[in-house]
């Protein structure tokens, strides 16, 4: 026995000896821990995954961008385009490109041709999953190497929103794409502050500073972007000093627990992801508005916010996430009133209450489902909850198999996109252009359509506000709250801006980001 | 032959086993002497304790905690029972060898037989590996294993029972011992092979000037090889004497009955079984242990134990019986 333990100790010791600590370097290395297990695609128009979008946001530029730390569409600023103008009818937009912008790894200077190529590629369903975002584009042309001209088929609420640096609107190198023959993801070449160096499958992506970045050489020299799917492992890795920035958990308990870790700063920022209870109006018994109203009255919002945690969520009465262009708080709200709910059910012909079979995902929202169940039960609504595997749930709810769909989402911060995808009848499940209108809502159709082509911003806002009010009045969906983005970072890391929100759902790493 | 000439002298040797909290004597106060250059057979049916007796001499009883050995074992002037294990190991490696019954299980199945023999040779301090190997081949040759070079590489399962038993004998000879204990060495063999092995054992014992304890239940085998015989019944020695005397003029009724119960080719009509069964160790008769099965038992036989038979010299025949048969013609009638 003694012998065994001696040998064990010896082997462990030997193991440690052979592993000299890595020499300290003057380089600034940022180590990021993300929750996915592997990269999807580094092609900005081929991935809607947050873990990819966060990364591409550091590697690419767009024509325009949100200033780091915000997602306010009214503050959109120049990025690759220095300036822009549009025709009076709002159908032709002309962008003047910033001179002397270089692509990474010597792929040459950015020209209008690259922009045209990128935008055309992003609007082609064969090469882009965001093609529908660019549906209004008629033509994209380059009258000269420094000018890009976009012609629209019809007016859109905000063209700038479409070309803001994010996802499909990120500009790639034409040369690089042509070289890789459709496998662009292997050699992502952009213009952003950091350039792609390598991807060690399922382990990490290494980025290096783009010394020629047009806003100045980044202070961070290298970024390791590590895929760490286990929540506990990220927490522990941060505690062990192996990470500087990492994806947290959207849980009050987690935030409180992590606050005690020395050197941590918890970042809570936008955009909020709105959690909606979608009620399917096309199915019995939810086709009766009184039943939907009853459900709305049965829900205790205060309890929900408290339950999930005031630090990580924001109460939101509307059906669009807070802060989106066109958002309004001024909407009708159903008071928490169990008696009223019961009364409404009785009127609808359910004096003894009713039972709803509901599918839920086993991956998210598991505990809050139970709270919802409890709240509804008090009003006599028995929610027969069946938790199923996440991918299965996704495909089931797209077949109208669950009368209630609890769904969390964020979109580009303009009300139109969110309203269209979730509440326009064109997006209803079963329609050819179906997206995520699980409630088969049509109450806001007219206002959404009107807003889309309205030139007067004031009027446009009014339409959007009206749409929200009508959708809530029709009880297509009951908004619960906005779930914020929660990250942890070292207090030595200085992002270089105030982080209030980020369009990529993760902190921007800019040329100014550095270690204190 | 004076007692001092004895190679091995056993006095009041008892082997007790712990069974459900009770101490049960499996070997009961055995006295035995083995002269140099002779073969002593210990004969008995299964469960008579003959193997226990033999294994207690070399302290190979298996789980040592379960057995309690008492008495005296003098081997060549040394008292074996008190020896520390390391010294006992030396004795086993040099002076006393054992040939086991079940050669298939008694040989390591995953080691070539040559290596197993070399291992035994190495104990006596042979100078080099090469010398050890030569000695191993010589031993294989001595036990008449054909083409020893090739056979040395064989594994036990590749050999016949007879060949394996020859290997066992070679292994026992390796350390040039003075005493060989052969524990039922021919039991599972065919008669023809048994005959070969017995002859081999007899020859190697003679040629190497050793003594041998030969344990068997087979009276024919005993007759063929033994100089002296001790008959065991229910843990006790009931009769001792020269092979010739015991087989032709048995004095103890058990010995006599055993001979009569043995089916013989030459006397097919004389078969006479011994009634009853061997008593179990946990319910031994207090007095004479054979009394319940004895045709000649009288009252005294169930009242007190007869005096133990003691082997004094090879010419002296003793029986542990109140009424031993006295004359030659009594037994053979």
């Amino acid at each position: 026995m003694k012998y065994v333990s001696t040998v064990m100790a010896a082997v462990l010791f030997a193991g440690m000896q052979s592993i000299a600590p890595a020499p300290a370097e003057a380089e600034q290395i940022l180590r990021v821990g993300i929750h996915g297990s592997e990269a999807g695609s580094f092609d900005p128009s081929m991935s809607a995954e947050t873990i990819d979008n966060i990364l591409t946001a550091w590697m690419y530029g767009g024509l325009v961008r949100f200033p780091p730390g915000t997602i306010d569409p009214s503050k959109i600023e120049p990025d690759l385009a220095e300036s822009w103008t549009h025709s009076d009818d709002g159908l032709v937009w002309t962008f003047k490109l910033r001179p002397n912008v270089a692509f990474h790894h010597g792929y040459g200077k950015l020209t209008a041709e690259d922009v045209v190529y990128s935008l055309k590629r992003a609007s082609n369903p064969k090469t882009s999953i965001f093609a529908s975002d660019f549906a209004a584009f008629d033509k994209v042309e380059a009258p000269d190497p420094a000018t890009v001209q976009i012609t629209l088929k019809h007016r859109v609420p905000s063209l700038l929103a479409i070309v803001t640096a994010q996802r499909g609107a990120l500009i790639i190198s034409k040369k690089a794409d042509e070289e890789t023959k459709g496998e662009y993801s292997k050699k992502p070449i952009g213009t952003g502050p950091f350039q792609f160096e390598e991807y060690k499958a399922k382990q990490f992506v290494r980025l290096s500073a783009n010394a020629d970045y047009y806003r100045g050489k980044p202070k961070i020299d290298q970024i390791f972007y590590r895929y760490i799917p286990s929540n506990e492992s990220r927490d522990l890795a941060f505690r062990a000093g192996e990470l500087d920035l990492f994806y947290g958990r959207k849980e009050q308990k987690w935030a409180e627990r992590m606050k005690s870790t020395p050197g941590i700063i918890i970042d809570v920022f936008g955009p909020g992801e709105l959690r909606l209870i979608n009620l399917n109006e096309s199915m019995k018994p939810l086709d009766d508005i009184r039943v939907r109203q009853a459900i709305a009255h049965a829900i205790n919002h205060e309890q929900f916010v408290k339950f999930v945690g005031a630090d990580v969520v924001a109460d939101n009465p509307s059906v669009v996430p807070i802060g989106y262009l066109g958002y309004t708080k001024d909407v009708p709200r159903f008071k928490f009133d169990v008696a009223k709910a019961k009364q409404l059910l009785k009127e609808a012909g359910y004096p003894n209450g009713l039972t709803l079979k509901v599918l839920g995902s086993n991956r998210s929202f598991v505990e809050p489902y139970q709270l919802l169940q409890a709240q509804l039960a008090k009003a006599g609504i028995n929610m027969d909850l069946q938790l199923i595997e996440h991918p299965a749930w996704h495909s089931q709810i797209r077949k109208d198999l669950s009368p209630i769909v609890v769904y969390t989402a964020a979109r580009f911060p303009i009300a139109d996109i969110f309203l269209t995808q979730f509440f326009h009848s064109d997006s209803a499940i079963g329609q050819p252009r179906a997206v995520t209108n699980f409630s088969h809502c049509k109450a806001g159709d007219k206002d959404i359509d009107a807003a889309r082509v309205e030139t007067d911003p004031e009027k446009q806002l009014k339409y959007w506000h009206e749409a929200q009010r009508k959708i809530i009045a029709d009880v297509c969906a009951i908004p619960l709250f906005d779930e914020q983005q929660v990250w942890g970072q070292s207090n030595k890391l200085d992002l270089g801006y105030k982080l209030e929100a980020s369009i990529s759902f993760g902190p921007m790493i800019t040329e100014k980001t550095t270690f204190k | 032959m004076p007692p001092s000439a004895s190679l091995l002298d056993i006095k009041y040797l008892s082997v007790a086993v712990r069974l459900q909290g009770r101490q049960i004597d499996i070997v009961d106060r055995v006295n035995l002497g083995l002269a140099r250059d002779r073969t002593l057979a210990i004969v008995g049916e299964s469960g008579s304790g003959k193997s226990m007796l033999a294994m207690s001499i070399v302290r190979l009883l298996g789980d040592a905690k379960r057995f309690a050995v008492s008495g005296k074992i003098h081997f060549d002037g040394k008292e074996l029972l008190g020896l520390p294990e390391a010294r006992m190991r030396e004795i086993r490696g040099r002076d006393i060898s054992v040939i086991f019954q079940d050669s298939l299980n008694a040989l390591n199945p995953v080691v070539p037989i040559g290596r197993q023999i070399e291992e035994a040779i190495s104990r006596i301090g042979t100078s080099s590996r090469e010398a050890g190997r030569r000695e191993m081949l010589r031993l294989l040759d001595e036990v008449k294993i054909p083409s020893p070079e090739r056979r040395a590489l064989s594994y036990p399962h590749e050999l016949s029972g007879g060949m394996r038993q020859r290997v066992m004998i070679a292994m026992a000879l390796a350390s040039k011992p003075r005493l060989i204990i052969a524990d039922e060495p021919t039991t599972s063999l065919d008669v023809t092979i048994q005959s070969q092995i017995l002859s081999l054992l007899r020859d190697v014992r003679r040629e190497n000037g050793m003594s041998m304890i030969f344990i068997s239940h087979n009276l024919g085998a005993v007759a063929a090889i033994a100089d002296d015989v001790a008959v065991m019944y229910a843990g006790q020695i009931v009769e001792t004497g020269t092979a010739e005397d015991i087989l032709s003029v048995p004095r103890h009724p058990y010995t006599r009955d055993l001979l009569l119960a043995t089916p013989r080719i030459d006397r097919p009509g004389e078969l006479r079984p011994i009634p009853g069964v061997v008593p179990r160790f946990d319910s031994m008769p207090f007095a004479c242990r054979f009394a319940p099965r004895c045709r000649g038992a009288r009252e005294v036989c169930t009242q007190k134990p007869p005096a133990p038979a003691e082997f004094r010299s090879s010419t002296d025949q003793q029986a542990r019986c109140f009424f031993p048969a006295g004359e030659r013609h009594v037994a053979t009638a």
């Binding site: - | 016949s160 023809t192 087989l247 119960a261 089916p263 080719i265 030459d266 011994i274 009634p275 061997v278």
Partner: protein, 333 residues
């Protein structure tokens, strides 16, 4: 009248595959065997292990299927009966196995063991069964309180009595006993032999006793067949074959069977070598490599039967053969 058991031209080979995809080789366990048992007759089948005698028993019992030949019980083909699932034929034929320890189910008490054959037959009432098994116990001399006990409560001899009682249950006409005594002590062996003799007489039972012990066979059997490597080499009455063997192999067996007296010493090591592998048997007479009297023709010619004046049959070139080369002994390679 046809014999009780008539085994005609029995052949049996086992396939041995040495490695995957390699051509299969065959071990000829029974080269060619003819054998018969008359009513109330005890026939002994003797030979060394590996000679094929147990295979003969298993073929007769239908435990394995013979390659060729016919087995008739009371004139009826057993294989035919088995094909028709006629259990009647089977009831007339019972077996007693060698190992009395593993051949009885330790989870069944004696009553269950003994009533099992009746229950399978399904003809008797519970009371009748009870009566029968009490009588069976008496017949094999077991105490009547044995019924509720389990096999492990009995000694080896008693278990073999139980096995015999079970075999007797359905009033068979033939019992095949494969080494029924070899696991027993000498004193008990004699008891069982006498028991079998008694049953043989009382029920006019035929016995086929398979044994390697010539003494046992001589004590019990009236007729003997000697087997060597799949062939019968000598056949005749027990007296003829065992007291005055003629085939060199039988002579060797006889020599190697040691009597429990000093004459055993002169009989050692009369036969050399071991039984060859049936995978690769010698040409001609299988025994010739070990035969002290082998001649040139023994190496190439399979000996046919010679019928000696006393009526026994010997397959050996030493004796003048029957006029026509026997069709029953030929080596069809």
């Amino acid at each position: 009248m046809s014999p009780l058991l008539d085994v005609r031209n029995l052949r049996k080979s086992f396939a041995v595959s040495r490695s995957f995809l390699a051509p299969k080789r065959y071990v000829r366990a029974i080269d060619l065997v003819n054998l018969s048992v008359e009513r109330g007759e005890a026939v002994g089948l003797i030979g060394e292990s590996g000679c094929g005698k147990s295979t003969v028993a298993r073929c007769i019992m239908g435990l394995i299927r013979a390659d060729a030949g016919e087995i008739l019980l009371e004139g009826k083909s057993l294989s035919e009966a088995r094909r028709r699932r006629n259990t009647r034929a089977h009831e007339r034929l019972q077996m007693v196995f060698q190992d009395p320890y593993s051949s009885l189910n330790p989870r069944m008490n004696i009553e269950a063991i003994l009533t099992e054959p009746y229950r399978i037959q399904g003809k008797l009432s519970v009371r009748e069964m009870r009566e029968r098994i009490v009588r069976l116990l008496e017949e094999v001399s077991l105490p009547s309180d044995s019924l509720s006990k389990y096999p492990q409560h009995f000694s080896g001899g008693q278990r073999q009595r139980i096995s015999i009682a079970r075999a007797l249950a359905l009033r068979p006409s033939l019992i095949v006993a494969d080494e029924p005594l070899s696991a027993l002590d000498v004193s008990v062996q004699a008891q069982i032999i006498l028991l079998m003799k008694k049953l043989q007489k009382v029920h006019e039972l035929g016995f086929l006793l398979i044994s390697h012990d010539l003494g046992v066979v001589r004590s019990f059997c009236t007729r003997v067949a000697v087997m060597y490597l799949g062939r019968i080499v000598e056949e005749g009455t027990a007296q003829q074959v065992l007291d005055d063997p003629r085939h060199p192999y039988t002579v060797a067996l006889r020599e190697a069977s040691l009597p429990p007296d000093i004459s055993a010493r002169d009989r050692l090591n009369k036969i050399q070598g071991e039984i060859p592998s049936a995978l690769d048997p010698p040409l001609g007479c299988h025994f010739h490599p070990r035969c002290p009297r082998a001649m040139a023709r023994c190496k190439s010619e399979v000996p046919g039967w010679s019928v000696l004046p006393d009526g026994r049959r010997v397959a050996c070139h030493l004796y003048p053969q029957a006029a026509a080369p026997s069709a029953t002994q030929s080596d069809k390679g």
